[in-house]
């Protein structure tokens, strides 16, 4: 009578350890539910990639590598064959440039904000501050687009761009090229800055989590040896957080690469590859969004091809990030002095 789980009546009188309803049947069902959920997600992903690639195939087949390097995007009217010219480089370039700009602006800001929230701010500021940051993440991107286009661009970005053009734009390469005028307004720069604001919360939130996990023992040890607050942050908190920060940055970059509406509103929908950040351009997601509604079938195939390319760029970025984290882990794991 010591085992309370199984009523004595159900127990096999010969073998008290015989499998029962509880362990024998429910566990396999539970395992089966979990396993099928996992398989389902992978299956959906695989089907999506296959279906998209299949739909894009005529364009890939007709353009070959020129699809990635060509700079002319001239849409044809055909329903059955590829008659236009599809060079997606201006869009690939726009996506990469605006996302890179977003990361360059957002990452330092996010790290500083997260350091403030975790290392400096008193609890009565740190807690609401963290909530606010996370709230920013839930603002829909159309709002960012509208606000960016109608208020932020004319009131803040345009003066900033004018200033950059007047100063850096008049200096020397590479700045004289990157900030060459004239200032149009909608541009890689405008899209990049608004993207930076959009990805700031996710990077900040992850950095905050990572910094909070910085080993308290090592922080105490550093303080005990006479490290200043900044030295503790640099040599313990930041040094231990590199993999996490890289991970957070990649999540932000993933969002920036795929962000559609806000970028479509701010980047300028120009199919030229602009050497200056102040010139209008276009991004991969934005061109899909702007042209899918009135495209002939062959144009839709081409948009699918852009979609596949975007997917693979995101994947490559993620793989590179993982390699980077792995490398850093090896360096800090058994560093040589």
């Amino acid at each position: 009578m010591t085992v309370v789980d199984t009523p004595t009546s159900e127990r096999d009188p010969v073998n008290p350890f015989k499998s029962t309803e509880r362990g024998g049947k429910v566990d396999p069902i539970f395992r089966w539910v979990l396993r099928s959920s996992g398989v389902l997600v992978l299956a959906i992903l695989a089907l999506m990639v296959l279906r998209t690639t299949w739909a894009a195939w005529p364009v890939f087949a007709s353009e070959g590598l020129d699809f990635f390097t060509g700079t002319l995007w001239s849409v044809g009217p055909s329903r059955s064959e590829v008659t236009g010219t599809y060079g997606a480089w201006p869009f690939i370039y726009g996506t990469l440039v605006s996302s890179a700009l977003a990361i360059i602006i957002a990452l330092p800001l996010a790290i500083c904000t997260a350091l403030y929230l975790t290392q400096l701010a008193p609890p009565r500021i740190a807690r609401p501050g963290s909530y606010l940051v996370e709230m920013l993440a839930s603002v829909p991107s159309i709002i960012f687009g509208l606000w960016g286009l109608l208020w932020f661009l004319p009131n803040v970005l345009r003066p900033v761009m004018n200033f950059l053009e007047d100063t850096l734009g008049q200096s020397f390469p590479p700045f004289s090229i990157l900030f060459e005028g004239p200032v149009f307004g909608v541009s890689y720069f405008a899209a990049g800055v608004v993207l930076a604001i959009m990805i700031l919360p996710i990077i900040t939130a992850i950095c905050r989590e990572v910094f909070m996990l910085a080993p308290e023992g090592e922080k105490q040890a550093a303080y005990g040896l006479g490290a200043t607050r900044w030295e503790v942050i640099r040599k313990v908190v930041l040094a231990r957080s590199v993999p996490g920060v890289v991970g957070g940055t990649m999540l932000g970059l993933g969002r920036a690469l795929g962000e559609t509406v806000a970028v479509a509103m701010l980047i300028g929908a120009s199919q030229r590859v602009g050497t200056s950040l102040l010139f209008p351009g276009d991004s991969m997601a934005a061109v899909i969004f702007n042209t899918f509604a009135d495209g002939a079938p062959e144009a839709i195939w081409a948009l699918f091809a852009i979609g596949v390319t975007l997917f693979f760029i995101t994947m490559i970025v993620n793989i590179l990030a993982r390699l980077l984290v792995w490398r850093i882990g090896r360096i800090t794991g058994d560093a040589t002095v």
Binding site: A222, L225, G226, R240, G333, D334, A335, T336
Partner: protein
């Protein structure tokens, strides 16, 4: 080296409060140079709090307020123009859990000197070797200075932490229950090391292990909790008695000390 007769710490009417709640009340004691001073007492008696006042580690705790005065070689550590960072550079500290940096053994030991501006080179190598020798760890790690400190055993890690504290050349080493996370053999080695270091450094150790205090220390301060609810006040730690360790353990003045060291209380 015989202990000099200079007093290292002169503590005068020191009280510590955490967010308005008393943790330690009206402590006055003089800690002379050299030897080992043990701080013992039941949980919540404020012994760790006092230890963390000695190098101003308490400043890192939000809401911690210190009253009274605390002199280190005649300098008021709580004077308004004192930088706690400078205090911590001069007074070494070893913590309850071994807390090496997740880095090489060499980097661990050289952390303090590098903070103080010493560049990599033969001079730094020498400091690292000397510190590891003093912590009786050199022979075990001399061929693996570039190995990660996390690969060491718990006892070795704690000796590494001691070496790291010695590398900044302090004259005082504070130890906050340095053996409580270690097995008996590692504990014994740390205790031997403490005895050895006490000829050169002033060691102040917090321990909840009375046998340890009796074994290693020259002087013992017994703290207790007073002013509980039955007195109608907030409980807070206070210093009951501070004397030669032999006296505390065999012939205590205060009946509470005797009750504690003989195991009848706490």
């Amino acid at each position: 080296m015989p202990a000099s007769h200079e007093d290292v710490f002169v503590i005068d009417d020191l009280s510590v409060r955490y967010s308005g709640r008393d943790a330690l009340r009206n402590v006055s004691m003089v800690i002379p140079a050299g030897g080992i001073t043990a701080l013992i007492g039941p949980s919540g008696c404020g012994k760790s709090t006092l230890l963390r006042c000695l190098n101003r580690m308490n400043d890192l705790i939000r809401g911690c307020a210190v009253e009274g005065s605390l002199f280190y070689h005649g300098e008021d550590l709580y004077a308004s123009d004192v930088d706690p960072v400078e205090v911590r550079r001069r007074i070494g500290m070893v913590f309850q859990r071994p807390n090496p940096f997740k880095d090489t053994i060499y980097s661990n030991v050289s952390f303090g000197p590098r903070l103080n501006g010493m560049k990599k080179g033969p001079e730094l190598d020498e400091v690292v070797e000397k510190s590891l020798r003093r912590a009786v760890l050199w022979d075990e790690v001399k061929d693996q200075l570039t190995k990660n400190a996390f690969a060491l055993s718990g006892g070795q890690q704690q000796r590494l932490c001691i070496a790291r504290a010695l590398a900044t050349d302090p004259d005082v080493v504070l130890m906050d229950e340095p053996c409580s996370a270690l097995d008996p053999i590692a504990t014994m080695r740390i205790e031997d090391l403490m005895r050895e270091l006490s000829t050169r450094y002033t060691i102040i150790v917090v321990t909840h292990n009375m046998q340890q205090a009796a074994r290693v220390s020259d002087r013992t301060a017994f703290f207790s909790v007073s002013g509980g609810a039955d007195d109608g006040g907030d409980p807070a730690g206070e210093l009951v008695e501070f004397d030669e360790t032999v006296t505390i353990f065999s012939n205590a003045n205060d009946s509470r000390t005797e009750a504690y060291v003989t195991g009848r209380f706490g």
